[in-house]
């Protein structure tokens, strides 16, 4: 038997949220998915709406537990991971 799947809460904002069609969800991620970039690749394969949202992963920003992270950041220990477009506040 392989390692346990990792349970995560995912949150989406702005057009990432609109393309996926929901603001958040709970997922179980396979053990082989270890970084933010790998998580985006795994999500993109979940369906058309996800493929659309993550079609250009270079423009998508991510946060783990409400702090900005880079694509190569490990997701081990994360509780909540958010994906969103570049920010336009201010």
């Amino acid at each position: 038997m392989g390692r346990n799947k990792m349970k995560l809460k995912l949150r989406y904002f702005a057009w990432v949220r609109e393309r996926i069609g929901k603001p958040d969800e709970d997922v179980e991620v396979p053990a082989g998915v270890t970084t933010v970039a790998e998580l985006m690749t795994w999500l993109a394969a979940r369906g058309e709406e996800y493929a659309h949202a993550f079609e250009n992963p270079k423009v998508i920003r991510a946060a783990i537990d409400r702090a900005h992270v880079k694509p190569q950041t490990a997701i081990a220990g994360a509780g909540e991971i958010a994906f969103f477009p570049p920010m336009t506040g201010g």
């Binding site: 702005a14 958010a82 201010g90």
Partner: protein
């Protein structure tokens, strides 16, 4: 003396002058107050807009702004900092956000306000959507905002240590 800081994320309008007065009230060490107010324009790239809607990431928006306020306090001798950012639907002419920085002298107050604005634009989790006559579109991030934030990169001695 500790720096007085206020960070608020809210839907309600705010009064920049009242916030600036509140943070300096009763103090005699404040020699300079800089205030910045971001206002909703009536057009997006020359096309009239009906309204602006700001989405944010509750919890992270406060945390991210507080991180940058803490960094500003480390870099400049500040007496007080107030940052208020609205979310929800905002009409042309209405205020979107404000920064107040207070110091003994103007250089620190100006620099800290400039620094905070550059970082808020590129790092605080807010997204603007504009409503035009033919529909709603998400505002695209500007490369010039990233370049502006890049001006404040860590001092050279920190980079050399990496």
């Amino acid at each position: 003396m500790t720096t007085q800081t206020i960070v608020r994320i809210q839907t309600e309008p705010f009064d920049t002058a009242a916030e600036a007065a509140a943070i300096t009230r009763g103090r005699t060490d404040a020699g300079a107050v800089v205030t910045f107010t971001g206002i909703c324009r009536g057009d997006e790239n020359g096309v009239p807009i009906a309204s602006l809607t700001l989405e944010h990431y509750p919890g992270m928006a406060e945390a991210e702004i507080e991180r940058h306020v803490a960094e500003a306090i480390e870099r400049w001798p500040l007496i007080g900092v107030t940052v208020i950012h609205r979310f929800g639907r905002i009409l042309p002419g209405d205020d979107i956000m404000m920064v107040v920085t207070v110091s003994s002298h103007r250089a620190a107050a100006f620099a800290a306000a400039d620094f905070l604005m550059d970082y808020l634009k590129t790092r605080a989790p807010f997204w603007k959507q504009v409503e035009k006559t033919d529909g709603k579109i998400w505002v695209e991030a500007k490369a010039t905002d990233d370049e502006a934030a890049g001006r404040w990169a860590a001092p050279a001695k920190h980079q050399a240590a990496e």
